[in-house]
Symmetry: C2
C-alpha cells in the first residue's frame, strides 16, 4: 500500500464517510486491508480507528483479514469485540490461522477465546496447540478436500463444488478409505481433464507416488519435500496412516523464510527467535545476544594466553604485534566463507555428508590458491608500508607474516568445510555449532602458526 492510498482511506475514515470506505475495503485484497489496520495501530497509535476499520468490514471477509494481521493487532481486535463476535471469528478462521494466533497471545486471552468457540472447534484447537513447535502437526490445517475412494470423477467434482468454499485449498484432493487412511492424492487438474465416469482410484497417485509427512516430522522436512516434488500442499498422516491435515504452500513459504532466518541468526551467534525485530522487547533482544558473546569472550581467553606467553618476544620484534589482528581476521574470514557455503548447501540438500571428501579435496586446492595470492598481496602491502609510512617491520617479519597467512588460510578453509559436516554427522545443527567453534579454534591456531613460524625463522629470538 502506498502513501496516497493510505491517506485516501484515512480521510474517509476520519471524515466519517464510512459507507464509501466499506465499499472500497470490500474491493481490496485482504493483505492490504490488514496492512491499513496495522498501520493505524502501530504507526499512528490510533487503536480505536484500527478496531473501527475491522468492525465495518463485511462479515464474510473479516476472518480472512484477521489472519493477515500481526499478533499485536489481533490481540487489540479480540480485546475490543464481544464474546459472540469472537465465537464467529474463530469459526470462520482456518484452524491453522486460529492456532497461530492463540500460540502468540497470553493465557487469559486463550481461555476467553476458547470459552466462546463451539465444542468441536475447541477440541480441534486444543489438540493442535499440543503439538510441539516446528513439527508438521503444529503448522497443518484440517480444511482439506478428502474424497472417498469409491467416487467417480463426476461425483468428486460435485463434492468439491458443494464443500469447496470452506476449504483452504481445493487444488489437491486426498483420497481416503473407510478408515480415513490416506490411499492416494489427485490434483483437481487431473479430475477436470478426465471423463466424469472414471473412478478416481484409477487416476490417483498411489503407492510409489504417494508423498506425505507424519504429524511429528520437522517442518524443515515438510518444506524440503514440497520443494522437491513441487507440491501445492503436503498431506499429514498420524501414526496409523490416517489423514489428519494438510500444509499449504503459503505456510511452506513461511517455513522456508523462517528456517533461513534461523540460520542467519545462528551464524551471527544469536539465539534464534521467531519474532519480528521491531516487535521484540529490548530485554529479549539482549537475552538472545548475551550468552553467545559471553561464550566468545571467555573462549578468547585461549588467544589471550597464547599472546601472553609470547609477550616478551612480541615486544622485542618490531611490527609483529601490529599484524595480529590482520592475521586473525584473514583466518576468520577465510573460514566463514567456506562454512557459509557448506551450511547453506547442507540446508538446501545440495551437499550431503557423504560428499565430505569431495568437499575437502576441493577446499585444499582452493585454499592453496587463495592463500598464495593473499600472501603475495601481503608482501607487497608490507613493503609498501615500510617504504612509505616507515613501518618498522623487518624483511624476515614480512616473510613470516606472509607465510603465516598462507598456512592460516589453508587451516581455516579445512576447518570451515569440516566443522559443519561433522556437526551434521553428529546430528547437531551445523549453523549453530560452527560459528563459535570456528572463531575460537581458527583464532588460536592462527596465533600458534604465527608464533611457531616466528620462532623458527627469525634469528634474533
Amino acid at each position: 500500500m502506498n502513501l496516497t492510498q493510505f491517506e485516501e482511506l484515512y480521510a474517509l475514515l476520519t471524515g466519517k464517510n464510512l459507507k464509501e470506505l466499506k465499499e472500497i475495503l470490500s474491493e481490496m485484497p485482504y493483505p492490504d486491508i490488514a496492512e491499513f489496520i496495522m498501520e493505524l495501530d502501530d504507526e499512528l497509535d490510533e487503536e480505536k480507528l484500527a478496531v473501527k476499520v475491522f468492525r465495518i468490514l463485511p462479515k464474510d471477509i473479516s476472518a480472512d483479514v484477521f489472519a493477515y494481521l500481526d499478533p499485536d493487532s489481533q490481540m487489540l481486535i479480540v480485546r475490543s469485540i464481544t464474546d459472540s463476535e469472537i465465537g464467529r471469528l474463530m469459526d470462520d478462521l482456518f484452524v491453522d490461522d486460529a492456532v497461530d494466533f492463540l500460540e502468540e497471545v497470553p493465557a487469559n486471552m486463550v481461555r476467553r477465546v476458547l470459552a466462546n468457540t463451539d465444542k468441536e472447534t475447541r477440541d480441534i484447537i486444543n489438540r493442535f496447540l499440543k503439538y510441539p513447535d516446528n513439527c508438521a502437526g503444529s503448522v497443518m490445517t484440517i480444511e482439506m478436500v478428502d474424497l472417498h475412494d469409491r467416487l467417480t470423477v463426476g461425483e468428486a467434482i460435485k463434492n468439491i463444488r458443494r464443500s469447496g468454499v470452506d476449504k483452504e485449498t481445493i487444488y489437491t484432493c486426498y483420497v481416503i478409505d473407510d478408515n480415513r487412511h490416506l490411499v492416494g492424492t489427485i490434483p483437481l487438474r487431473r479430475l477436470l481433464l478426465n471423463d466424469e465416469e472414471t473412478l478416481i482410484t484409477d487416476i490417483m497417485s498411489d503407492d510409489e507416488q504417494l508423498i506425505y509427512v507424519r504429524t511429528m516430522d520437522d517442518q524443515e522436512e515438510v518444506a524440503s519435500i514440497a520443494k522437491k516434488y513441487d507440491l501445492l500442499s503436503v498431506p499429514v498422516v498420524d501414526n496409523e496412516g490416517r489423514l489428519v491435515g494438510i500444509i499449504t504452500i503459503d505456510d511452506i513459504i513461511d517455513i522456508i523464510d523462517e528456517e533461513a532466518t534461523e540460520d542467519f541468526e545462528k551464524m551471527a551467534n544469536l539465539t534464534p527467535s521467531d519474532d519480528e525485530y521491531l516487535k521484540t522487547k529490548i530485554g529479549v533482544l539482549a537475552k538472545n545476544r548475551i550468552p553467545w558473546l559471553i561464550i566468545l569472550l571467555i573462549s578468547s581467553t585461549f588467544t589471550g594466553q597464547i599472546i601472553e606467553g609470547f609477550e616478551t618476544k612480541l615486544a622485542a620484534i618490531a611490527g609483529m604485534t601490529a599484524c595480529i589482528p590482520m592475521l586473525m581476521g584473514t583466518g576468520g574470514n577465510s573460514g566463514s566463507q567456506v562454512s557459509t557455503l557448506i551450511i547453506r548447501g547442507l540446508a538446501l540438500d545440495e551437499i550431503r555428508v557423504k560428499d565430505y571428501f569431495k568437499v575437502l579435496w576441493k577446499e585444499i586446492r582452493v585454499s592453496f590458491m587463495v592463500g598464495f595470492v593473499l600472501a603475495l598481496v601481503n608482501i607487497v602491502r608490507m613493503f609498501v608500508l615500510r617504504y612509505t609510512l616507515g613501518s618498522d617491520a623487518s624483511t624476515s617479519v614480512i616473510f613470516v607474516v606472509s607465510f603465516s597467512i598462507w598456512c592460516v588460510v589453508i587451516v581455516a578453509k579445512i576447518m570451515g568445510c569440516s566443522l559443519p559436516i561433522v556437526a551434521k554427522l553428529c546430528r547437531m545443527d551445523p549453523a549453530m555449532m560452527t560459528g563459535p567453534l570456528m572463531s575460537t579454534v581458527v583464532d588460536a591456531v592462527s596465533l600458534l602458526i604465527y608464533f611457531a613460524l616466528a620462532n623458527a625463522l627469525i634469528p634474533n629470538i
Copy 2:
C-alpha cells in the same frame, strides 16, 4: 530416493530387465526418476546407463523428467540423442524450463538445440533468452490459461478442459481483452463454485485487486508480491499492459532460496554465485573469494597502523596486547549480531528505512545492557586469570579493558544497525555493503577507544 530403491532400479538396469524397469519408472514421481539418472551420471560415472534410462522413459514423461535434471546431466542427454528427439523434447518442455537449460549450456549446444526446434518455439525462446538475469521476464513461462473477457463460467471451464493439459498451471486464470491487455484474474476455484451462466467479468478480481509485475521488474519483487498476497502464480505484463507470461509458485520458491543464498554469501564476504557448490570449479570458487579477502587484508592496514603507533606503550604495560583480539572479536560479533537482524528484516520487508530511529533507539538501549553485562563478565574473567594462571594484567588494565568492552559494544551495535539502513537508503545492497565496512570500521574504532582509555586512565604511561 533411498539406497535400497536405487539398488533395485540399478539391478533391473544392469540385469537388462528393461521392461520391468520401464514399468516401475512410469509409476515414479518425476523428481525421483531425475535423481536416479543424476546419481548414475554423477556418482557412478555411468554416463551410458544414465542416457539409457532417459531413453526408455515413456515419451509423455521424458520432458517432465528432463526439467528436473541438473545442467550437467541435461547436457549429457542432449549430446546423446538425435536431432529429431531434441526437437520433440524442446517442444514438450515448458518455455521456462527450456530457457533455464539453454542459459546454462555452451553456445554451440544452444545453436544445435535451436536449429532443431520449430520456428515459433525458437522465436519465443530467443526472446526469453534476451531478458537480463534475475528479472521477471527471465523466469516467466508462457503456458498459462488466458480467458477472453466475454466468456461465461461454463465456457471458461470448457476452455480449460480442452487446453489445460499443456498449461503449467490452471489454478489461476488470466482474463484478457481483445488486445491481450490483462483486465482481471480469476482462480479456478471461483469458477468451479459459481454458476455456469455467470459472466467471468462479474466474478474476476480487477482494478484494486489486480496484482501483476512487469517484465523488467526484479525477481525479488515478484517473490515479495507472491508472498504478500499468497499467490500461486504472478502474471507478467509488458509496458503496454499486455499479458506476456506468468511465474509459478515453484519458481518463486526457487527465487526465495536463491535470494537468501545470495545474502548468506554476501554477508560472508563472497561474490554471490548461482551455481551449486559441488558443481563449481575450484578456479571460480577461488575467484569468488579472493577479492574480498584482499580488500579486508588491505583495510586491516588501518588497525595495524593504530597498533604500531601504540607499540612502545603496549610493550611497557603488561597484559594489554593479550586483550586486543578479545576486544576486536567482541566488537565484530556485537556488530554482526545486529547487522544480520537488520539485513534479514530489510530483505523480508519487516523493517523499512523509515523505521531507522526506532531501530537506533532500541539498539542504544540494548547495547548499554549487553555491554554492561559483558564488561562485568570480563572483570571476573580477568581477575580469575590473575589469581589462577598468574596473568600479569594490573587492576587498572583490567578496568580499562572492561570499560573499553562496554564502549565498543555500544559503538558496534550502533554501526551494525546504521550501516545496512544507510546502504538501503542509498539504494545499495545492505548485505553487500555491510560486511567489509563493518569489520574495518568497528576494528579501528575498537582499538582507538581502547588506547584512548588506556592513555587517560593508566597513570604510568
